[in-house]
Every structure is written in structure tokens, then in C-alpha cells.
């Protein structure tokens, strides 16, 4: 018997100011799964994540975490319900040290040991000012920090943006080691990363869900990539 989804979005509509961004997003994420959210620029992927988190208010539709509605809750409440968030710009507190960044999430304890074991790069540079880290190191810090709160659901917005290929590989490996015990909602433009990490996918176009399914469908059926994702072949580097 299939479990009820951990996260369910139904008919989600959301606006930013006068602009309607989401016109009806449907999404289901089961516990332990990694779902990749795909789509062109401006399709509404980031807005979807931000709506789940509570930064953007839903105009219509529902957001349910483990069967409970969370749309309308304040951001900190959503976070305390077990949703973690790593935004596209990483959200690092650059004037604080790496250790202080981690402390904002949670005071030092056994969780730190576990998480830092998976992120040796972060452990090495605890005393450094976060603003001085490289892009890849900052990304690791952002993910480690989010994990310190032991979230049930982790939202990652384009973690591979701006990173060198070697760094991306390292990031993917780190995430793969972690994902078996976690539920991940990943937004990615990089199809290679998407394919390596994702078990299922959902494609957004103009604020709507237009396609959904297991990842193998995306690899097998190139018509989907062409119709909804291709932007002159730039994303085909895989």
C-alpha cells in the first residue's frame, strides 16, 4: 500500500506583488524520495520552493506536509515543522564565521558530529569567516547548516549554480551519500545533476505542472526534454 506523500501541493497558485507566478502547481513527494523540479527560467521553480517555505503566500490551492496544511504558516514555523531550505544564493551569513553560521541553526552537539562527518570541508574551516569561502565551500556550508536541524524535508534551489564541474561532482557525491535517509526536493537546471540525484521528476511550465514521473522516463523520452526544458541545447551538456 503506497504511503501518503510527505509533501503534497495541489493546485497551488501564488503571486509576487501584482505578478501571478504560479498558476496551478501539483506535486507529490513521498518520504525518502528525491524529487527534481525542472523547467525553464521563469517557470516558477524557485517560487514553488519559496511558497512551501512560507516566503510567498499562496493565493489558492494547498500545501500539505504529512497531511497537515502548512500554507499560511510563518517561515519560522514551517522551518520548525521540519522543512529545511537552501536558497539559490546560499544565504550564508558572510560576516559570521563558519561555526557561527552553524550555530544559528543549532547549538553544538552530537548532531554536529554526524553532519560534519559528511562535510569534512566545513569542519576544516570552522574558524574562517564565511564570506571568505569559495563558492563550493559555501554551498557545502549551506547544506550542512540546513541539515543540523535534522529536517524531514530539504528544499534545495539549484545547488550546482556557479560551481566548477569538479566541485559539482563532489557536491553530488555528498548529497548521494545523504539522500537515502532523507526526503529531498531539488530544483536543478543541470540535467546531469538532476538525473544523478533524482528518483522522480516534475516539470513546471509557466507556473503549472506539465509533466511528472519516474526519472527513467526523462532519460528515455527525449521529447520531454525538448518540449519543456531545451533552451537551444545549452542544457544538453550531460
Amino acid at each position: 500500500m503506497p504511503d501518503a506523500p510527505l509533501l503534497a501541493l495541489r493546485g497551488l497558485k501564488a503571486s509576487i506583488g501584482p505578478f501571478r507566478i504560479l498558476e496551478g502547481v501539483d506535486l507529490e513527494l513521498r518520504e525518502g524520495e528525491t524529487l527534481v523540479l525542472l523547467g525553464r527560467n521563469g517557470a516558477g521553480k524557485t517560487t514553488t520552493l519559496r511558497s512551501i517555505m512560507g516566503f510567498v503566500e499562496a493565493v489558492d490551492g494547498s500545501i500539505e506536509l504529512d497531511g497537515e496544511a502548512i500554507s499560511g504558516l510563518s517561515v519560522d514555523r514551517v522551518a520548525r515543522r521540519g522543512v529545511g531550505y537552501v536558497p539559490e544564493d546560499r544565504g550564508i551569513f558572510s560576516t559570521l564565521t563558519v561555526e557561527e553560521n552553524l550555530r544559528v541553526a543549532a547549538p553544538p552537539g552530537p548532531v554536529w558530529e554526524r553532519v560534519l562527518d559528511s562535510f569534512p570541508v566545513v569542519r576544516e574551516r570552522l574558524g574562517a569567516r564565511a564570506g571568505e569561502l569559495s563558492g563550493g565551500q559555501q554551498q557545502m556550508l549551506a547544506v550542512a547548516r540546513a541539515l543540523l536541524r535534522e529536517p524531514r524535508l530539504l528544499l534545495l534551489d539549484e545547488p550546482s549554480t556557479g560551481l566548477a564541474p569538479a566541485v559539482i561532482t563532489e557536491l553530488v557525491e555528498t548529497l548521494r551519500a545523504l539522500q537515502s535517509g532523507m526526503t529531498l526536493l531539488l530544483v536543478e537546471q543541470n540535467l546531469s545533476v538532476a538525473r544523478q540525484l533524482g528518483q522522480r521528476f516534475t516539470i513546471l511550465e509557466e507556473g503549472r505542472t506539465v509533466a511528472s514521473g519516474p526519472m527513467r522516463e526523462l532519460t528515455d523520452d527525449s521529447s520531454l526534454t525538448e518540449r519543456f526544458l531545451a533552451l537551444g541545447g545549452a542544457e544538453q551538456r550531460a
Partner: protein
């Protein structure tokens, strides 16, 4: 200028710097964390001066005056934020208009209650004498001011650097949304931050009363400019910056006034204009602040 005068001017400048630091640190804290511009800050300063004049002017307890100023400021600031000011979050023009009006009303109420004249602070029971330091003569109270300024500075530094609240404040100044995404309600802290900022303004006023010789309704108007100058020069939202700027302005004003009386008023203003033109982010730029 002989050595003794130089020393006196130096110490007087530091004392003035201490007052300015107390005043500006509240402002910069509120602006840095809450992104809120408070034009009533000068009026709070004035109220603090009147508190001192009412309690300690005729030889009453200085400590009591300070305590009342701090407590009153904290309570008043907390209530004001809750009731009135949080309506203006996110709308800068609204903040300007609202807090300006608030400042006007507070000033006028004080003027009505206490009368329009300057209330002189007469002989202080303690710290009233003069002391000779390195050839220069300086009032004991001014040395006390310097000590007070340093104490508050170190105290707040400790809170900011070593406590969780301080950590949240520093992170929140840079990116309040991210702090929320990490599970901490920043908004609830706003009332507290506003209370702290207001308490600092009242403390500054109380501490400044003997320095200026008393309390008057115009005190707030003059000081609000200075407070903003310090905050801007130091870097809006930067705690260290406001300390540095306050000391600089205090010293510069003290020396400038020796040569040319209007200098005391002109120097800070010219400094601010220069900073805004050449380095608008201030001496110690604050990450996350928008120019």
C-alpha cells in the same frame, strides 16, 4: 595650543564621543536589524535628559536617574513598537512620516509639562569636581562619561559576540529571512530590539544632561542630526562603526570648536556630506545594508 589644553580638549572630545556613541548605537541597532528609520530618536534623547533633570538635578541620585531612564526607555520603546510602529515596516516613507510626527508630539508634550525653558542641572553631588590629568583640567563627570561609554560598548560587544541573542541579531542584520528559514522568529525579537535601542537613547540623554548643563526641548532636534551623522559615517547597522564614528566626531568637534565656535555644529555635518559622497556605506560597511 599648549599640551594641557590639548589634553583637556582630547578628554572632552572623548566624553562627547561617549554620549554620541550611546545615542547613535541605539539608532544604528534599530536601523541595522529592523531596517527601520526612527526620527523620534532625538525626542527620546531629550526625554532622558529631562528624566535626569527631574531626578538628579538638585543632588539626587545619579544612579536612580539612569535606572529610571533605562527602564522607562525600554518599556516605552517596547510598547511603541507593538502599538504604533510595526504598522510601518517595509514602507520607508511611512516610517519617516510616522516617527517624525511621533517625535514632534513627544517634544511638545514635554514642553507642555516642563515648560519651554532650559532646565539647568545644578551642582552634582558626586563627580562634580575637576580633576587634573596630564596637565589638563577636566570635569570628573566627563571622565565618568568616558567610562560609561566604554562599559556600554564592551557590554554590548559581549552580548553581540558571545550570546545566542547577539548571534541572531548579527545574522538577522545581514539576512533576516534566512534566520527565519533556520527556525528562529526574528519578528518577536524586534520589539525587544526596539526597547533596547530606545533605552540606549534615554540613557544617552540622561548621561548628557550634566554635560550640556541641563535639559531643554530643543535638545532632541539638535541631537537627531548628530545621531544620524554618526550612524551614517560609521555605516548604518554597524555597531563597531558607530563607536568609531562617535569617537571621531567627538574629537573633531571638540578641537574644531576651540578654533571656531560654529565648528562644533558644522564639522559633523560636513563629515557626513563627505562620507555620503565618497563612501556611502560608511567606515565599517555592514553586509546586507542597502545604499
Amino acid at each position: 595650543m599648549d599640551g594641557g589644553t590639548a589634553v583637556t580638549l582630547f578628554l572632552n572630545g572623548l566624553a562627547l564621543g561617549a554620549i554620541l556613541f550611546l545615542l547613535a548605537s541605539g539608532l544604528t541597532l534599530i536601523f541595522g536589524l529592523l531596517d527601520f528609520v526612527n526620527f523620534a530618536h532625538g525626542a527620546f534623547f531629550m526625554v532622558g535628559a529631562y528624566v535626569f533633570a527631574a531626578i538628579a538635578a538638585e543632588g539626587g541620585s545619579i544612579a536612580l536617574a539612569f535606572a529610571v531612564a533605562i527602564a522607562g526607555g525600554a518599556a516605552g520603546g517596547f510598547v511603541l513598537e507593538r502599538v504604533l510602529l510595526r504598522r510601518a515596516y517595509g514602507n520607508e516613507l511611512h516610517q519617516f512620516l510616522l516617527t517624525l510626527g511621533l517625535g514632534l508630539i513627544i517634544t511638545e508634550i514635554v514642553r507642555i509639562i516642563a515648560g519651554p525653558n532650559f532646565q539647568a542641572v545644578r551642582e552634582l553631588e558626586y563627580l562634580g569636581g575637576n580633576v587634573s590629568v596630564l596637565g589638563g583640567s577636566v570635569q570628573e563627570y566627563r571622565l565618568f562619561l568616558i567610562a560609561l561609554g566604554v562599559a556600554v560598548f564592551l557590554g554590548m560587544l559581549y552580548v553581540l559576540r558571545r550570546t545566542r541573542i547577539g548571534l541572531i541579531v548579527r545574522a538577522g542584520v545581514e539576512d533576516p529571512s534566512m534566520v527565519e528559514a533556520l527556525g528562529t522568529n526574528v519578528r518577536r525579537g524586534f520589539s525587544i530590539m526596539f526597547a533596547v535601542g530606545t533605552a540606549l537613547a534615554l540613557l544617552a540623554g540622561a548621561a548628557a544632561a550634566p554635560y550640556y548643563g541641563g535639559a531643554g526641548p530643543a535638545l532632541g532636534e539638535e541631537q537627531i542630526v548628530l545621531a544620524f551623522v554618526i550612524a551614517v559615517v560609521g555605516g548604518l547597522g554597524s555597531y563597531l562603526g558607530s563607536a568609531l564614528a562617535a569617537v571621531s566626531v567627538g574629537l573633531l568637534s571638540s578641537y574644531a570648536a576651540f578654533y571656531w565656535e560654529p565648528g562644533a555644529s558644522l564639522v559633523p555635518v560636513l563629515l557626513m556630506a563627505l562620507v555620503l559622497l565618497l563612501r556611502p556605506q560608511g567606515l565599517i560597511p555592514q553586509a546586507g545594508a542597502r545604499i
